[in-house]
């Protein structure tokens, strides 16, 4: 429905309003509230006082905060490309129709997405366990002393859990965007003598670009918010390998719920929001804008 330039069409709001109202209540108001409280500090003496940017100044000098940011940045740089490469490869394999039993492949690679983070971390935690887990059994059998929960490789172990959880989900997004390519295009291409590989390179990969933007932005946001897997693993890992400031989200959680520092946690959350949004927008806003003609 294109209306003339001057006359506005308000009918859409009848449908948009319910979403908008709840959205304002659970997203907008809390965000404004977070910005508000980030300028205050609760002190032993004097109660809650306005401190301006003091929380932010403290955050910039907080080594624990920056170590958590570095950790999730490293995690993002390594895990996201691996996961998206696997997803795209699997989607192309399924779409090529060269697989025996492709229905089985489609559903079984997507199935991990149905598993709650708690359950998948529990399972992998048990598998990783050196005492009673699968790794422990392997160690007993071969006389090795593998320990995938050692601090040096713990992040990779978490990366494996996240990859397991979300590869199928991303695969499905790629796959469904491949399935919108009209078949006549393939037929025309093969009549013109294009090889399977040329079809992949010239037709399929360009088609994937749109969904790649979506999956990249969701994956970056997801990695920067890493919380469930490390915090559920915390008690399964020997020693203090998972610190209270292992990821920015864990740090903020521990500050506000066991440290009673909600104001500082709010400042942290806002800085993280700005970092994540900055990266996400830089990576892909352009492609989403094109849809908004």
């Amino acid at each position: 429905m294109k209306m003339g330039g001057s006359s506005w069409d308000w009918r859409g709001w009848k449908f948009m309003l319910p979403f908008a109202l709840v959205f304002v209540f659970v997203f907008i108001v809390p965000i404004i509230y977070a910005i508000w409280i980030s300028f205050y500090q609760t002190r032993m003496i004097g109660g809650t006082v306005f401190v301006g940017l003091a929380n932010y100044v403290r955050l910039i000098q907080d080594a624990q905060f920056w170590s958590s940011v570095r950790r999730v940045a490293l995690f993002t740089i390594v895990q996201v490309p691996i996961m998206l490469f696997l997803s795209a490869a699997m989607a192309l394999a399924l779409d090529s129709m060269k697989l025996h039993g492709s229905r089985f492949f489609r559903i079984s690679t997507f199935l991990p997405y149905a598993v709650p983070a708690v359950v998948s971390t529990l399972i992998w935690g048990f598998v990783y366990g050196a005492k009673y887990g699968l790794v422990g059994s392997i160690n007993d059998f071969f006389g090795t002393s593998l320990d995938v929960l050692a601090p040096s490789v713990l992040l990779a172990a978490i990366g494996n859990i996240v990859t397991w959880e979300f590869t199928g989900y991303n695969m499905l997004i790629f796959y469904s965007s491949l399935s919108t390519i009209p078949h006549s295009l393939y037929e025309a291409a093969s009549i013109d003598g294009a090889s399977e590989w040329q079809i992949v390179r010239r037709i399929k990969l360009p088609e994937l670009r749109g969904s790649l933007a979506i999956t990249v932005i969701f994956s970056i946001i997801g990695s920067f918010q890493l919380f469930n897997e490390p915090s559920i693993l915390q008690n399964m890992v020997p020693g203090n390998a998972v610190t209270t400031y292992y990821t920015p989200n864990m740090y903020a959680y521990n500050l506000s719920f066991s440290g009673n520092q909600s104001n500082y946690a709010a400042a942290l959350a806002i800085v993280m929001a700005i970092i994540t949004m900055g990266i996400a927008y830089a990576v892909q806003l352009r492609s989403m804008r094109e849809q908004m003609k």
Partner: protein, 319 residues
């Protein structure tokens, strides 16, 4: 001699006909399923084997869960991780899961169902209406809605959760089901999906025709648009159901009273019991409870497969 030649020619022709018949049937099937490349339908054993490795990776944790839910606590810690224990304790474990601590697991299951029906159901409804509005009306503030919603997706969960918690605490909503339900009502991804889907599935001319016939906007929506949106609705509800059923972070901060816990928080509490002072390890119950937790979703995925895949395909991102 000539008879034999003729016979072999006929055989050859029959074979060619059968082959081309098979090929045509295959292509028809392929194009009906909507997910294929009929240009070259030859199967490859090598590719199947390579992808098979990945499928093993995807499925082996499920196998682990199945195998280990048949073990007693003693066998769980002492026997091989992917092998069976000395006794088959699946039924005992299931019984204990539902009776342990006065059957609190059943309570958690009912809570989860409540959060899913009201939260995910409401989220789907709001997403359908909002997505429809974004796709089919040019209303003032439309672009702002888009930018704000997409921006909101990238706000870290915790940036929201801490002030959400403080706000809900002020309103007396924490530690009640509302603390779980209200935030679950918003699914930015669901809105996005329904928007893309409405854009493609509902022809604007059809809406114009209904309006010309004098139907109100809501009547047009219910009677004309909603049926066309069905595959998109199945897809969106699948994603909102998964998000609510699997939510861990929100209930972790909002709920203190274990009688309001969903399954995820309850299971994690059982897991942590082993590491608390004087706590008894009940990993067999944790594993069996996990199995019970994922079964409904796995069944929903399998049953609704055809619908959500076609819905996602139609809503797939195009240039």
């Amino acid at each position: 001699m000539r008879g034999v030649e003729r016979q072999s020619r006929i055989n050859e022709k029959n074979r060619a006909r059968r082959t081309s018949q098979d090929e045509r049937a295959e292509r028809r099937r392929a194009s009906k399923s909507g997910f294929s490349n009929p240009a070259n339908p030859r199967r490859s054993m090598l590719l199947t084997l390579i992808c098979g490795l990945f499928v093993i990776y995807c499925l082996f944790p499920f196998l682990y869960l199945l195998v280990n839910s048949t073990k007693t606590q003693g066998d769980f810690t002492s026997t091989f991780g992917l092998g069976f224990g000395h006794e088959f304790a699946l039924w005992d474990n299931l019984k204990t899961v539902f009776t342990y601590q006065d059957g609190i697991f059943g309570r958690w299951l009912i809570n989860t169902l409540l959060y899913v029906v009201v939260g995910a159901g409401g989220a789907t409804l709001l997403a359908i209406m909002g997505g429809y509005a974004l796709a089919k009306f040019r209303f003032p503030g439309r672009k702002a809605v888009f930018v704000v919603v997409i921006g909101a997706i990238s706000v870290p969960g915790i940036a929201l959760a801490v002030p959400q918690f403080l706000l809900f605490a002020k309103l007396g909503l924490t530690n009640t089901p509302w603390a779980m339900i209200i935030p679950s009502l918003i699914s930015p991804f669901g809105l996005y999906l329904m928007w893309i889907f409405s854009d493609q599935a509902v022809p604007t001319e059809l809406l114009e025709a209904a309006r010309v016939d004098g139907a109100g906007e809501f009547r047009t929506f219910w009677q004309v648009s909603l049926p066309l949106l069905a595959p998109g609705i199945v897809t969106t509800s699948l994603f909102t159901i998964v998000a609510t059923w699997n939510n861990y972070f929100l209930p972790l901060i909002m709920l203190k009273d274990s009688s309001w816990y969903p399954l995820t928080i309850g299971l994690n509490q059982w897991k942590d019991q082993a590491s608390t002072a004087g706590g008894q390890a009940i990993q067999n119950l944790v594993v069996t409870g996990s199995l019970v937790t994922i079964i409904p979703l796995v069944i929903a995925f399998l049953l609704l497969q055809r619908y959500w895949q076609s819905g996602l395909a139609a809503g797939a991102v195009k240039e």
